[in-house]
Amino acid sequence: MKWTRKETGKVTRSLAALLLAALCIALTGCMTGRESCRTASVMQYLYPDKKEHVETPSIPELTLPLRVGIAFVPGEQNDWKQKLSEQEKMALMKKIAGQFQQYPFIKGIELIPTMYLKPAGSFPNLDQIRRMYGIDVIVLLSYDQVRRTDEDLRSIGYWTLVGLYVVRGELNETSTMLDAAVFDIASRKLLFRAPGMSMVKATATPVNQSEQLRKNGNQGLEQAEAELIVNLKKELEEFKVKVKDSPQDYRIQRKPGYTGGGSLGELYLGIVALAGMVALPRKGNGRKG
């Protein structure tokens, strides 16, 4: 059977339309992204949607040296696969404990497993932990990690099947936020907070997509951890100044077990030095023993 020129033209046009439609569908596919997240919110833990009681913070009374607890707030119930493992949490808590340990006004640090914190447990739960561990202040760690995946134009290569293995057409973005909020449990007062954030971008083939996402998630956490540690140190320093400058906002007391040291003030030393200079006889006039 021989096709006329008119028939050939019709078939060509039909094929072109078909290809165009397929391309449009593919491109539309590129536009739609997939998103997943893992979250543990300090707000959700401390201030769940309860209407019967509102916690009112009072003036914190910090009794030195302080005993500090560090804990991750519980995450969402439904995403158990996405949650941070207890090992990951402990590793981060140890790093944060290292930051607090160097301060003389901190007597001890307790790392509290997440299982001791009830979801939406709020301050009554913290009171239980306070009694259990004998802590005064708690560092509540929360996280929010969002992974977004898009496909770029290279994903057309997946049609070749081999492309599924070699074409890196999956664009992944992982944004992570870690947050450390330090509360005085007795007064319900937020003393200070420090955030750590990161954004990791990477491409992957569909075959190694889940592995790449996991890597990105871990990398994002590491970067956010590093930033959190730096910010925590800064915030701690600022908090010390704030306590010193605003005695009306923070009451400071001592308790047994503190370290004492003999310390001569600059002014006192200055007076002694000046008096010594005035009193000391010139060379040759002194009484030598």
Partner: protein
């Protein structure tokens, strides 16, 4: 020579965490028999600024005593070293750790000032000024809560006003006895 040797020892001990741990006044360990800590605690300092100010006061007063020919200075150092930690042990059971040379330095300063008061010439006014400054410093530390705030503001300890007071009393007593 003795003050210089003490100053060098203090520098070495403070720079070595192992020596500091071995020498610091630790109430619990003293109670369990480590009595040397009552004397060696004066060589331990908790920060560079703590060491700097204590050594300044100690060396300044020791040098002054040397220039004035006060031969009792070593006795002042020895008795103040024992009296300050002894008083902390007996009167401040809450204080778990202590370190610093300032109690001894205060003893030397007061000793020199009281001796100066007893001497003729232009010594009286500078000596009186030092005594007033010393009383003011100790009084301020005893009455205000500055120490606690200082502790939170970066210093790894709270100033032990009691040690300064005992040091000053020892210095005054030795001066009065030897004038």
């Amino acid at each position: 020579m003795l003050p210089l040797m003490i100053a060098i020892d203090a520098l070495v001990v403070t720079m070595s965490p192992a020596l500091s741990a071995l020498f610091v006044y630790d109430r619990q360990l003293i109670e369990s028999g480590e009595l040397w800590r009552m004397v060696t605690a004066h060589l331990v300092h908790f920060s560079v600024s703590h060491l700097f100010f204590d050594l300044c006061g100690f060396l300044l007063s020791a040098w002054y005593c040397h220039r004035r020919g006060y031969r009792q200075a070593p006795w002042v150092i020895a008795s103040a070293a024992l009296a300050t930690t002894g008083a902390i042990f007996l009167l401040q059971p809450d204080m778990a750790r202590y370190g610093g040379l300032s109690g001894v330095a205060d003893a030397l300063i007061v000793f020199a000032a009281v001796r100066g008061m007893a001497e003729k010439g232009g010594m009286r006014w500078p000596s009186l000024t030092v005594l007033i400054a010393c009383c003011g410093n100790i009084g301020f530390q005893l009455l205000s809560d500055r120490g606690t705030l200082e502790a939170l503001a970066g210093q790894p300890f709270v100033p032990a006003a009691g040690a300064h007071l005992v040091g000053a009393i020892v210095g005054a007593a030795v001066a009065a006895a030897t004038s």
